[in-house]
Amino acid sequence: MKRAIFSILLNGLALQAAPDEAGFRKTVVPFLESYCLNCHDNETQEGKLSLEDIRPTMTEGALETWRLVQEQLQFADMPPAKKQQPNPAERAAVLAWIRGELLKTQEPGALAEEKLTQPQFGNYVDHAALFGQRRSHVTPAPPRLWRLRPAIYNATMPRLGERITGLANGLNQNDGSNFKDFSAGYFLDEAATAPLLGNAKKIAEALTAPTSKDRPLKVLVTETPPTQQQVTDGIQTAFRKIVGRAPTAEEQERFGAFHKASSNTGGHVAGAKALLTAILLQPEVLYRMELGTGEPDEHGRVRLSSRETAYALSYALDDRPVDRLLVAADEGKLNTAAEVAAEVRARLADESLAQDRNPRVLQFFREYFHYPFAREVFKDAPEGGVHRPDLLVADLETTVRDALRTDREVLATLLTTRRFYVNANYKSVKNKGVQLVQGHNKWWPYQTAFNLPPDWRWNLTEQPLEFPKGERAGVLTHPAWLAAWSGNFENHPVQRGKWIRTHLLGGTVPDVPIGVDARVPEAEHVTFRNRLKQATNAAECWRCHRKMDPLGVTFERFDHYGRFQRRDAGQPVDTTGWIDRTGIRELDGTRVQGPAELMAVLAESPYVEQVFVRHAFRYFMGRNETLGDANTLQDAHKAYQSSGGSFRALVESLLASDSFLMRQLPQQSKD
């Protein structure tokens, strides 16, 4: 609580954490009484909503209610047309009060609900505030621990013990379509620690085995008990190898004593293994430490130490420590934002076809678009065709790799390109390096997924194929994405619409209420679009579905395998859709004839670009943005725009920002 108050005092808006109760009483209560409580009191509870007892605080469920009220007022859904209407000034005053209160929950360090730390709630932070006024400075996150993601553990641990195999998977990773590696999402509990303990023992075994290359560790388990000096050397070696630094004098002593105690219990061999196991389970080994160091600046912020910076950068770009960055840290070359930017720029310069130098960059697009999930959506083969999600995903990735290499207008390209590969991937060819080659030799009739005829012949020189205008436009019209966002038997316009609403328009959609039977009715000779309409047009459904369905139904242009279609259930397909309720002037009210037009409109919008920047921020920072990160986001967007849409420039800007490199220290309240 203390921290929350302090950091709010620190930022430039001079907001108070406490709710504005006076404003609530003066502006909001009379409004609710005049225009809302007639239907939404405890007695009537129209739409199962009562506002009679609502509190002016934005916590514990009230947050969602206030957001709902805000939306209803903002888009003039409420009060219903036939009821008495507030005048625009009254409406605006209440909206201003709600927004002001919501903004307080978005300040750095504000006591928010736990769910707001999860990636799917990132859009709860006010877009206009983030990209509006500049703040005096960035208020970063507090010092944090970030549990290693499985990929890092799996890449680094086996290397400790001469490529040890068969380590148990103790680190969970969330499923689902959100960014996976979020620092708030993970911790080590008993279920995770037990297998990690097993793994540590296994590695300790390998480190002391005759095949081990670490002599100082091997001598700990020879027949004669080690001397004091040998134990000291062993601890030194183990710390450098496992923790990546020398032990402190205090650690040297503590681990030495532990070795002695364990040796007394189980003999010196068991003692040595216990020692190594203990080092392997140090929080510093299993967590990324981002605590910061040195004197706090005038805003109470400290910089990550250069080693912390080197690890943070390494794991932002790769799944293992990057030697060059560790060396730079040791040489004192990671001390300023400019130095970090230079290192990141050098690291991101990657002209390879496969774009695999920085695996986390491609991984961002995988997690953002979530197309690899196509592999998880089971489908039977369509008549006359075949469903090969593995090939679809690989093909789409060839396109993504091209966009990353070219690094020009990356988002717009990915949202609109008509050039797609069909069974063509970058692979390493013997003696020739990486080249574009046929992905799979048993592919026929895979090409039918792209509506290519049965007698179509694969030809390298034709790749990538350019599809007709209006037929394909960007990742969202690629069969891999369409299959990933579809059901086993049908399209999934709701999920597709939701993706656009959240990932491109920066909007929010509440979870499906648990009591809802989300099923589209079966009916012959009725298009899926019309069947969906039957399921969602009831007022209580449409309240949320209006945010998704009008966007998602444009993709009825394709069947659930991702094949272009003109008819569905024997009827002509209606692919018209519209964008509204975004609050974005340039977009609201836009009607489109189909997915290609929709994507063209979205790709041109700077607002959509900003939403994309917000997603990149979350992915590379491993947390949601707060209002304290406003400058970082604005700078990153500017870097992206001024570089002609370079994703590298965007990443460089993020990784050299104060949000990435600094931590806000918890402060004692001044009172």
Binding site: K273, I514, R519
Partner: protein, 465 residues
């Protein structure tokens, strides 16, 4: 319990004379202990096909509208169930329960034991975790299983609460080392003691770092600290039980821990399953746990169990029998027999291992009978009634009656078909299990919206004692 009792004795000796003390002790000894209760959930991947388990001579109407409740004995068991035939008097076969709310495509994962939409993953508390919570134990829940993948553990069947999945250990040797080290002799036992030191040291270490943090970061590390403290605490309890653990520990061939993913040679999957059942039985006999979930290729990592034809004892061409391929109907033959029949053979091999588990528990006296008398086995598939299930029907086979807590044994129960009056869901079966161990509830998991007009609440009346 031990601790309390010790405190009690200490208080007694301080407050009252020797005579009193003896009285207390006598009273304690005489106090009737709650009858033990144990449950083994055996989850088979790839479906338990209703027609394949149908006993001979009991008709199989397509969409029955009336409850069928009749004795099972006198009806020959189908091929896959033959290994369980000796226990027909303890067996209850339940057909006609639905689980539509789960609706997955090859496996329902957590939803099979949880009764919620499959895609919600670890959405809440699964029935095995709920039973574990009620029945307690040093290890309240042990998850064991086998898979064709060379994984040592997976999280795909059991969850304690939302988002908190419990592991299924897939390597029998690792599982053995994990649960029975306290009972080992010589070096292994010394290692156990060194472990105790290690856990205390690590707990201390984490505390040290924790002091530097605050707020949510401190909490994060708190979970890690708790892990070491709780493991260390358990070490103490295990040490005190070392004799009974040693007496009960299984003998596991170290080779069964070598899991290779192969499509051309023996998979060893049934040997691993046998070893896991030995682990399960030993853990129960040693008093380490009361609830085990055994997975035979269940969960979304894998569709059922694949193996070589020779591992099923099938003659003809010895080829790889892929669990996915055999799920796709009669059009394809493997080792000279159709896919579904292969699946029946696979289930039979699995149930042979279960039969060994039952014999093991039957061999251990408990009260007036054996351990098996106080045990219930719940056999189901996480893929309900088929390879591509629709979950209108989810067959269950139960063995035992949980020490008389449920009206089970020698029974064939068929509930009215989905949507008919009197139709029940698997949630109702789970509610019966919970009620048997003293937890009365109306609902479990998420209700089936398609059955909104039917009463979906409460346990199966037919099973309530």
């Amino acid at each position: 319990m031990n601790l309390k009792r010790r405190d009690f004795l200490k208080a007694g000796s301080l407050g009252a004379g020797g005579l009193m003390l003896t009285q207390f002790v006598n009273q304690l000894e005489a106090a009737p202990k709650a009858k033990p209760a144990r449950v083994l959930f055996f989850v088979q991947g790839n479906g338990v096909y209703p027609r394949d388990v149908q006993p001979a001579g009991i008709e199989f109407p397509k969409t029955p509208t009336k409850l069928e409740d009749r004795p099972l004995d006198g009806h020959a068991m189908s091929l896959s169930l033959e290994p369980l035939a000796p226990w027909v008097k303890k067996m209850t076969m339940i057909h006609g329960l639905s689980g539509r709310v789960a609706r997955g495509s090859h496996n329902m994962g957590f939803a099979a034991l949880g009764c919620w939409p499959m895609k919600k993953k670890a959405y809440g508390e699964t029935i095995d975790a709920a039973m574990a919570r009620k029945l307690g134990g040093i290890y309240p829940h042990i998850g064991l299983g086998v898979s064709n993948k060379a994984m040592s553990m997976t999280y795909n069947l059991t969850s304690m609460t939302r988002g908190k999945a419990l592991p299924t250990l897939l390597n029998p040797v690792q599982a053995y080392e994990r649960f029975f080290a306290a009972g080992a002799a010589g070096a292994a036992r010394k290692n156990f003691d060194v472990d105790t030191n290690l856990l205390d040291f690590l707990a201390d270490d984490v505390k040290r770092l924790q002091k530097q943090l605050d707020g949510s970061e401190r909490e994060k590390l708190g979970r890690y600290l708790e892990a070491f403290e709780s493991m260390s605490n358990r070490q103490g309890k295990l040490a005190a039980m070392s004799k009974q653990i040693a007496a009960a520990a299984p003998k596991i061939d170290p080779k069964t821990g070598q899991i290779t993913e192969t499509k051309t040679g023996r998979t060893g999957v049934f040997e691993r399953l046998e070893a896991q059942f030995e682990n399960a039985a030993s853990a129960m006999v040693a008093g380490l746990t009361n609830v085990v979930t055994m997975s035979a290729g269940a969960g979304p990592d894998r569709i059922g169990i694949s193996c070589m034809a020779s591992e099923l004892g099938l003659k003809g061409d010895d080829g790889y029998i892929g669990a996915h391929a055999i799920g796709h109907g009669n059009y394809q033959q493997f080792a000279g027999i159709p896919g579904p029949d292969c699946h029946a053979h696979i289930r039979r091999r699995c149930l042979e291992q279960l039969a060994k588990f039952i014999r093991r528990l039957e061999a251990v006296p408990e009260g007036d009978g054996t351990m098996m008398d106080n045990t219930l086995i719940v056999y189901l598939s996480d893929s309900a009634e088929g390879h591509h299930p629709v979950c209108h029907e989810w067959p269950f086979i139960l063995i035992g009656d949980l020490g008389g807590r449920l009206k089970l044994g020698n029974r064939y129960l068929r509930y009215p078909w989905y949507g008919n009056q009197g139709h029940r869901t698997i949630a109702n079966l789970y509610l019966s299990l919970l009620q048997a161990v003293g937890e009365q509830r109306d609902t479990f998991g998420v209700a089936d919206f398609g059955l909104a007009d039917l009463d979906q609440s409460g346990p199966l009346a037919e099973l309530v004692v």
